[in-house]
């Protein structure tokens, strides 16, 4: 049973994804920090419980805080800024996740044809999830 060989030290797809995984992780950290600081500035401490604050932190979508004690969501909680932040979170998060899935699966798959089929399947799923999440961001 062949598993995949060690990646070469060159400008390859594996190297790019290795780099992307690290950079997107740091990017997601940045988005989390932006989310929690902004929420606290907008008065989250008096307007929501900690579970809601955590939900907003990981994905600053107005639907994540709609049931808390916020009197008016239009005062800062919705808008283009948050849609952009959510867009970044969607792209980085979904791509990071699907590449991680690819990594795990390909550790156990040596067959080239099977690996190609798997990559195609994961790529379609990735496109689908990006589409679904983007529509969700734009319509919420």
């Amino acid at each position: 049973m062949l598993s995949r060989p060690a990646p070469q030290r060159a400008f390859t797809f594996e190297y790019l994804m290795w780099l992307f995984i690290r950079i997107s992780a740091l990017g997601l950290y940045l988005l989390v920090i932006i989310g929690v600081i902004a929420a606290l500035l907008m008065g989250a401490r008096t307007q929501m419980d900690i579970a809601t604050l955590i939900r907003w932190t990981f994905f600053p979508n107005p639907n994540h805080v709609i049931n808390s004690n916020i009197p008016d969501l239009d005062l800062g909680w919705v808008g283009l800024l948050w849609q952009v932040v959510q867009g970044f979170a969607v792209f980085l998060g979904v791509t990071h996740g699907f590449n991680g899935l690819r990594n795990i699966l390909e550790d156990f798959i040596g067959n080239k044809g099977l690996r190609l089929a798997l990559r195609l399947a994961l790529f379609s799923l990735w496109v689908f999830m990006i589409y679904v999440a983007t529509v969700l961001v734009l319509t919420s």
């Binding site: 060690a6 070469q8 740091l26 579970a51 639907n63 996740g97 991680g100 529509v135 969700l136 919420s140």
Partner: protein, 196 residues
């Protein structure tokens, strides 16, 4: 062949020896006849290692991650008995939490999409599961552990000289994780038990 691979990981992790040194020693004694199972997580920062790889050796060994591909016939339970310890547990939990998040967050996004755009009952049913406090504990464990362990991996990749202390970094990681997780656990459980 396999035993040597495992011992090598043991030497690197437990005895805190320089992986490059060990590989050079192996190279000297074995003259290329060995298929070492080496995969160094930060190998892009180790030019020497790649010089060796390019000589025709096949290094496939998870540096802080025990290689559990089927080739080595290491089952899950053998894996727990194996002396990988903290780094191996972190590697395992990183993968489990990653898979968990892809499934759970993916389903959650899909459910929100269905209920938001079509008012679907399926979406609302799935979201109801997500709002249960048991589920919130699980997903928060996954997210927090994955985030902190990922940061540890990035730090070790950027400063590979810290790799000799990688067992200690695991302890630091748990020391950061446990208080943060406990606070959230107390809040979620007390809210869940009070029925709000």
């Amino acid at each position: 062949m396999l035993e040597i691979g495992i011992e090598l990981e043991y030497l690197i992790c437990l005895k805190r020896l320089d992986p490059i040194l060990i590989i050079r020693v192996c190279e000297y004694f074995l003259k290329g006849s060995l298929e070492l199972i080496i995969h160094v997580n930060c190998h892009f920062l180790y030019p020497n290692l790649h010089a060796i790889i390019n000589k025709g050796f096949l290094f496939r060994h998870f540096f802080q991650e025990v290689c559990m591909s089927r080739e080595r016939n290491v089952g899950v339970f053998d894996g727990f008995i194996y002396r990988g310890g903290g780094p191996m547990l972190a590697w395992l939990l990183h993968r489990i939490s990653g898979i968990g998040m892809v499934i759970f967050v993916g389903l959650h996004v899909l459910a929100s999409y269905l209920s938001q755009l079509f008012g679907s009952n399926i979406g609302q049913a799935i979201n109801a599961i997500y709002q249960s406090w048991f589920f919130q504990i699980l997903i928060f464990f996954f997210v927090l552990f994955h985030a902190i362990n990922g940061l540890r991996i990035i730090i070790l990749d950027l400063w590979p000289e810290l790799l000799q202390y990688q067992r200690e970094t695991i302890w630091i990681e748990w020391a950061v994780f446990l208080p943060l997780f406990s606070i959230a656990l107390i809040v979620i459980v007390s809210k869940g038990l009070s029925g709000s």
